[in-house]
């Protein structure tokens, strides 16, 4: 049944990839434009320079990432539910979104990381500037990282956008797969008992699909964290190689990414529904 969506013919595919590129461009072009206008002098150095405690900033960043990822996941899950449970398979909105999602989620997360580096690094002159400003001899890589995210709200939002684009399609895809994996007889049994659609969803489908939805969220977040680690790493190594150390942030994101991906594999291994004969 899904063959309609997952196997567009080559010409359709070409058109769809074009649309995906346009969407990507539409997202990044304004960001690029804003960035170009941002001069180093515009950066509110004062606010950055009084970064007191590298560690607290670290947690701020982590907290920020967690909340953004969480929001993106929530949004993605909601989209997936709407697509999978409310729209019929033949609905053109559903088909369009599913195609886009399948293309966007196929882009390696590494590419997003490189994109982030390409866009943000030229503007991290900010960092050097700040390094000279706060010359109290204690400009560790941690405070350097802090400046990357706190130096400019534009950078901030650009990062945010990148992560939403990175996380959401992945989450939509895995959530839809999780919902599809709930054996049809379970839904049919619940409906046969007189349950309404929302009762079937809340009492039966969600409890079964939940671990897999969670696994999808973890995997997407793992990608996001790995990208963040790459970004931070490149920033550090290109601007403060003399520090010779990885920051806590780098380690945290890398470690978080690893743990999340292991967790997601575990969830998938443990909770994938056993295939049921579909009569």
């Amino acid at each position: 049944m899904n063959s309609l969506m997952t196997h567009p013919n080559p010409r359709q595919k070409f058109v769809l990839q074009g649309i995906a590129l346009v969407i990507l461009g539409a997202v990044f072009f304004p960001v690029w434009n804003v960035l170009k206008k941002t001069h180093v002098s515009d950066v509110p150095i004062s606010s950055v320079a009084r970064v007191p405690d590298p560690l607290s900033n670290l947690f701020n960043d982590l907290y920020f990432f967690l909340s953004i990822s969480f929001l993106a996941i929530l949004l993605g899950v909601t989209c997936a539910f709407y697509l999978q449970e409310w729209l019929p398979e033949t609905n053109w909105v559903r088909r369009l979104v599913e195609n886009q999602v399948s293309i966007l989620s196929g882009i390696p997360s590494l590419l997003y990381g490189l994109l982030a580096v390409l866009i943000f690094l030229p503007y991290s002159g900010v960092i050097q500037k700040i390094e000279t400003v706060s010359s109290d001899g204690n400009v560790g890589a941690a405070s350097l990282k802090a400046t990357v995210f706190q130096g400019d709200t534009t950078l901030f939002y650009a990062m945010l956008l990148t992560f939403v684009i990175l996380v959401m399609p992945r989450v939509i895809k895995t959530t839809q797969a999780a919902l599809r994996s709930v054996p049809m007889p379970i839904r049919e049994s619940a409906y046969a008992l007189g349950a309404s659609r929302s009762q079937v969803l809340m009492k039966h489908v969600v409890p079964i699909a939940f671990p897999l939805i969670l696994a999808g969220g973890c995997r997407a977040m793992s990608c996001a964290f790995a990208t963040a680690a790459l970004f931070i790493g490149v920033c550090i190594w290109s601007h403060a190689p003399q520090s010779g150390q990885m920051t806590g942030g780098f380690v945290l994101f890398l470690g978080g990414s690893l743990i999340l991906s292991i967790l997601s594999s575990f969830l998938i291994e443990r909770y994938s529904p056993v295939p049921t004969r579909n009569t």
Binding site: M1, P88, E89, T90, P183, M184, P185, I186, R187, E188, S189, A190, Y191, A192, L193, G194, A195, S196, Q199, K203, H204, P207, I208, T276, R277, T279
Partner: protein
């Protein structure tokens, strides 16, 4: 249809509870039922036999309107329940509660044994704990499962053995006191002893409700059914009293061959 007399345990009972006329079902372009017509009488056990792909499951799904969840299906013709066309019934949840459905493989909902059985009454609005307890006990008794599970009603239904789970789904199907009980090859994952126990259960239920028994074991239909229908590739080949279908001269040669195991 052609033969209106019934025999078996219900003597002269001939009030139709389900009237199916010229029912056609398509999945996409593929036809699954090519225009079948027959009546189901009140308080009879109607056995439905036929090889794989003959449309038996599809027929049951039409009756409780769960075929609506399969996309790109089309239904023509009419199915009347107590004289009312089911496609015109607004309260489809109420309709489904009038029909109990047991699927081929036991489908343990991800709930405790108690909640599995209490699910339908709860969705129908029963809240009082004492009333729910009563329903749960009655249904588990009816399904011959009570003695085995009465001490662990809180454990997950999926932790039971296959045969127990199938009896649990029967208890669940009885929990909303259906007028019609549909069973779709219920014994596929059940050992012969449990199958016999469930058949005994069905035998006692025949006085209270109408039973549609889809089965791939022709002997099961012979043991239980008052009348038997033979379906083949979406057509109703023959429907008659079980005695006639299993006799040496049913109306159709294909019926004889299928029943006697030299089909195809």
């Amino acid at each position: 249809m052609k033969n209106m007399h019934t025999n078996g345990n219900n003597g002269s009972q001939t009030t139709p509870i389900i009237e199916i006329s010229d029912l056609k079902v398509h999945y996409g372009d593929k036809s699954a039922l090519n225009g079948i017509s027959f009546d189901v009488y009140k308080n009879e056990i109607l056995g439905i036999i036929g090889p794989a792909q003959s449309g038996k499951t599809t027929l049951l799904k039409v009756i409780n309107r769960t075929l609506e969840f399969t996309s790109q299906t089309s239904i023509e013709g009419s199915v009347k329940l107590d004289g009312v066309d089911i496609s015109t019934i607004g309260d489809v949840y109420g309709l489904r509660r009038r029909i109990g459905m047991v699927l081929p493989l036991p489908v343990g909902l991800p709930l405790s044994i108690y909640d599995n059985v209490a699910f339908a009454p709860r969705t129908a609005g029963v809240r009082a704990k004492s009333e729910l307890n009563e329903i749960v006990e009655r249904c588990l008794q009816q399904a011959a499962l009570w003695d085995e599970v009465k001490d662990r009603l809180d454990t997950l239904g999926t932790k039971l053995s296959g045969g127990q789970q199938q009896r649990l789904t029967i208890a669940r199907a009885l929990s909303h006191q259906p007028e019609i009980l549909c069973l779709d090859e219920f014994s596929i994952a059940v050992d012969p002893v449990t199958t016999m126990r469930i058949e005994d259960v069905l035998d006692t239920l025949r006085t209270e409700m109408t039973i549609l028994l889809v089965t791939n074991l022709v002997q099961q239909a012979k043991r239980l059914a008052d009348r038997t229908a033979f379906m083949l590739n979406g057509d109703l080949v023959e429907i008659d009293t079980t005695d006639v279908i299993f006799s040496d001269n049913p109306a159709n040669q294909a019926t004889y061959d299928y029943v006697n195991g030299n089909f195809g």
